[in-house]
Amino acid sequence: MTFLPRTPVVLLMGLTTGLLAFQSGGFQRRFNPYPAYESAGDSKHEFAWSRLQYTPLGGGGYGGFGGYNRGGFSSWSRDYPKADITFLAALRRLTRIDARSYQQVVDLESDAIFNFPFVYAVQVQSWTFSDQQAARLRDYLLKGGFLMVDDFHGTADWESFLRGMRMVLPTEKYPISDLADGDEIFHVLYDIGQRFQVPGEQYVNTGRTYEKDGYVAKWRAIRDDKGRVIVAICHNMHLGDAWEWADDAQYPEPFASMAFRVGIDYVMYSMTH
């Protein structure tokens, strides 16, 4: 009688269980204690951390929460909801912003997004828009909304991100520029002088601060006709992971601190400019 080696068996069982779990709606959906589509009426606070739900590249719909599911790659919900909740805890503790303690999911299918002038999007290399969705996001930004994008890495992701972004704001009128140290967005609450690349949780295992070919963090922005930042672009970094893993003893504190300070400054900027 021949016994199968123990390690491969364990790995196989784990993989099988994981796939079954994803196919049935995803871990996070199953254990998610937070409602997926909070309505505007649920907000009894001034500020709600709003995460943009979009149709991912190759997907037929919004997909589920995290990882893969039947609908396709649900990239918009990466790090959801722990990143959001952890960041909100910091925001509530460190500022006078009357912020709701849990996140809000917004999409571009309805006008409800206009009740939330700050929106956060991740994995934006995979976002796609219909013409109507792009127009709604453009209106949102031009009327005073603020978009922060995070967690996309390298040249290919950048090009993919641009395809969607240019549907919303055309290059000629809304060029993308690098943010400088002296830009007001880095000084609204915290003076952030020396910025460095904030890696995702993969740093704990690999020691690398970059992913793909995104070796250098790019702090970029799109401004409106008065020079105000309306889209803050965090390329080649993963602030969301830093918030999510801030309470992990193995995740370096300087990265988490930088991520919190940048996030708070961005929120504060969006509420003052």
């Binding site: 009426g41 907000s43 009894k44 606070h45 001034e46 500020f47 460190l94 500022t95 006078r96 912003i97 009357d98 006008d111 206009f114 009740n115 002038p117 209106d139 949102y140 031009l142 009327k143 005073g144 909304g145 609204v188 609450l189 008065k226 105000r228 504060m268 969006s270 509420m271 003052t272 400019h273």
Partner: protein, 752 residues
């Protein structure tokens, strides 16, 4: 008929004094009447029997009354009634004929000018009739009076009429002469605003009656006339300004007219109005963008209608000083809020109003925006008057009253009351009642009585609509048309939150209301307080108007820009110069006044104030203004602009060599314009003038009696005449009537 019955004309009675010529005193007449009447009553009563019923008593009383009246009349005649009058001495007194020779007298009615009517009236025996008894002097007048030899010297070319000045001039020139009366022939279209009390007093002191003869119809048959246009004398550049045009019309009731306001040849605004009934006063408000800085003469007009008798009275000019100096608003916000962001964005488009803001981002950090230098507000909210008073308005967001020290709260009060600044309180978690403002010493500044409760701020939707006072208000005007404006407000997206503001105070104005949960409450309430103004906007959720309206919708931006401009517009500087009327019509006299306040905005009575005036044709004058008695910090000066044109005046206040402040104002002299207005006969003015001086108002067709009546005057050289009245036919007629009536009643009632 009057003269037949009363023997003398009415003027004899109206100008004479009643007297009794009999030797017995007047009180004996009264006593005699009482005694005789009582005697008659006793006699009649003695004839009554106990069985007489009420109707018989009533009839007997009637007979007694008739007999008593007859007896009283006879007794009156025994006392010899008479009337005494003062009359001019023939050939000794002078009668002055003063004929209006202004341009309005050349207006024609029924094919004849008013001047021709006057000449014809005088020529129809009136002048010769008077000349037979008295000396006469003939004058013409327009701006001033001038003696003429005959009526052919009238030409009617001068576009001004000053009745008061002309009468005063005549009174002065004839000071040493026995002027018995003045006959004034005019249409009464005076341009100087009436006849002043000094002129009336000068005439009355010499007992000179002014007989006025009115020419011209009371009004035109087909004419539209602009009576007035009212707008603020100052405005900020690029601001919307409201001008109220008052007008009336004859002959076009129900027709459409077009009201226009122009700056030079540029039309700033226009819209149609339906003309009201003949002679009815109408008014309409035009809203327009006043444009770039500078002194501007705006023309308010109603486009001429077909067949109008006069089109020159369809427009008036008004001057506005459009100022471009920056107005600074200090906005203190207690927590980061979307309203703060969107208000700042709205104000970034305003080139005049600068929003300087302090935002409490954390417990101990304040983020400043819009500061002029790094030191501004670095120490927090100002604690010194000169620092806070550098702003024109103050906006306080979600901040508890106790955030301020007692001294700072007092400073806020002084900011409104003494400095004349604007204060706006916004709704929020720490605002109004929830922020303890209702129990603070600043509660009386607010235009509402805040509720005595906590938890008044709700993050719940609330719909908005205009209150009646807000429909035409500058702050809440999103669309020029009133009805469309009210509709626009109802279509605004709902507010993100609201706060219960309590009840508006008496004197406060609610401009907009909001409704939530079936409850309606004031959203925006304003009030004047001291020299300044206050407002409560009981929400922090208007930003939703911006985010939930189409791109490019201006409702949110317009509302906030207008609200903050209202907040700063009335805030005075250290020097505020003014003139009673910026448009001088035919009269160049101007009274300058200035209010001067020091750094702390206390009256600066020790200042030295100068006015530098620059006018047309190189006219230049420096005037030292003098303190106004009993009004500390107020200064005044009088000056005359002799030449038509625009005058720029800079008023500077100095303390030693240091400038306290300056102000600039503009006025304009226009000659010949006023004559185009109010061209109908001013009968009311002429009647009043005659009445005040003891003369009479005459219609031209009644002038035949003038030569006789003009003799009754107490001016000049007079004699006193006594005329007996006992032989007036009216007395005989009255006696016969009384007896006949008594006889008739006795026969009818069977009383013998």
């Amino acid at each position: 008929m009057f003269k037949f019955l009363f023997k003398y004309p009415w003027s004899t009675f109206s100008r004479g004094h009643f007297v009794l010529l009999g030797a017995w005193p007047a009180w004996m007449l009264g006593l005699s009447i009482v005694v005789v009447s009582s005697g008659l009553a006793l006699l009649i009563r003695a004839k009554l029997t106990p069985g007489d019923v009420g109707s018989r008593k009533f009839r007997v009383a009637g007979i007694w009354l008739l007999q008593s009246m007859l007896a009283a009349l006879l007794l009156l005649l025994l006392w010899q009634p008479a009337i005494t009058t003062a009359e001019l001495k023939p050939q000794q007194d002078i009668i002055v004929f003063l004929v209006d020779d202004s341009r309005s007298m050349t207006l024609a009615e029924n094919g004849t000018t008013r001047q021709a009517q006057a000449i014809a009236a005088l020529g129809a025996g009136v002048l010769t009739g008077v000349e037979k008894r008295f000396q006469t002097r003939l004058y013409r007048f327009d701006r001033q009076a001038g003696r003429i030899a005959n009526l052919k010297e009238l030409h009617g070319s001068v576009p001004a009429t000053r009745i008061g000045d002309s009468l005063k001039q005549i009174a002065a020139e004839t000071q040493e002469l026995p002027v018995g009366a003045i006959v004034l022939l005019t249409d009464g279209a005076d341009n100087s605003g009436g006849i002043d009390a000094d002129t009336i007093a000068a005439l009355r002191s010499r007992h000179i009656p002014v007989h006025t003869v009115g020419f011209g119809a009371d009004h035109a048959t087909h004419d539209v006339e602009v009576d007035d246009a009212v707008m603020a004398p100052r405005a900020m550049a690029d601001s919307r300004l409201g001008g109220v045009v008052r007008f009336h019309q004859y002959g076009y009731g129900g027709r459409k007219g077009k009201i226009v306001v122009r700056d030079g040849t540029t039309i700033l605004a226009s819209h149609e109005v339906t003309l009201g009934p003949d002679g009815a006063a109408q008014s309409d408000t035009l809203l327009f963008n006043v444009g770039a800085a500078g002194a501007k003469a705006l023309q308010f007009s109603i486009e001429p209608l077909p067949g109008e008798e006069s089109a020159v009275n369809n427009s008036v000019s008004r001057i506005v000083n459009v100022e471009s100096d920056k107005r600074r608003v200090l906005y203190l916000e207690g927590e980061p809020r979307w309203e703060y962001k969107f208000v700042r964005r709205a104000e970034e488009d305003d080139r005049i109003v600068q929003l300087v803001s302090m935002l409490r981002t954390t417990e101990n950090k304040i983020y400043r925006q819009g500061v002029q230098d790094p030191k501004e507000l670095a120490e927090g909210f100002p604690t010194r008057a000169e620092n806070l008073f550098a702003y024109q308005a103050l906006v306080i967001g979600s901040v508890e009253a106790t955030y301020f020290t007692a001294a700072q709260r007092e400073l806020i009060r002084e900011f409104v009351d003494r400095r004349g600044g604007g204060l706006l309180l916004l709704g929020g978690r720490f605002s109004l009642a929830d922020g303890g403002w209702g129990v603070s010493n600043l509660a009386d500044l607010l235009p509402v009585v805040l509720p005595d409760a906590k938890g008044t701020f709700h993050v719940e939707p609330a719909t908005v609509e205009l209150a009646s006072a807000g429909v035409d208000n500058y702050i809440t005007r999103l669309v020029d048309d009133s009805a469309a404006n009210a509709k626009r407000w109802k279509s605004l997206p709902y507010l993100m939150d609201f706060q219960e503001p309590g009840a508006p105070k008496p004197g406060a104005t609610v401009l907009a209301d909001m409704s939530a949960g079936g409850k309606k409450m004031p959203m925006l309430t304003t009030e004047n307080f001291g020299r300044g103004r206050t407002a409560v906007l009981a929400t922090s959720g208007t930003w939703r108007w911006q985010m939930n309206s189409p791109v490019g919708d201006s409702a949110f931006t317009l509302f906030w820009q207008q609200l903050l401009r209202w907040l700063v517009t009335g805030t005075p500087g250290h020097v505020t110069a003014s003139v009673p009327n910026q448009m001088l019509l035919d009269d160049g006299r101007v009274a300058l006044s200035a209010e001067v306040r020091g750094d702390d905005y206390q009256p600066a009575g020790d200042a030295r104030v100068e006015a530098h005036i620059i006018g047309p044709g190189g006219v230049s004058a420096n005037i030292e203004m003098t303190p106004t008695p009993d009004a500390p910090g107020n200064f005044q000066a009088e000056w005359t602009a002799n030449t038509p044109g625009s005058y720029l005046t800079e008023v500077i206040a100095l303390r030693g060599e240091r400038a306290v402040g300056r102000d600039v104002l503009t006025f304009q002299r226009m000659d010949g314009v006023a004559e185009n207005f109010h061209t109908g006969q001013n009968r009311e003015l002429l009647t009043r003038l005659a009445s005040q001086t003891g003369g009479r108002y005459w219609r031209p067709q009644d002038l035949a009696d003038l030569p006789d009546e003009i003799a009754f005057s107490e001016a000049g050289v007079t004699t006193r005449e006594t005329r007996e009245l006992w032989n007036m036919p009216i007395f005989l007629l009255a006696m016969v009537l009384l007896r006949f009536t008594e006889w008739l009643l006795r026969r009818k009632w069977g009383i013998v």
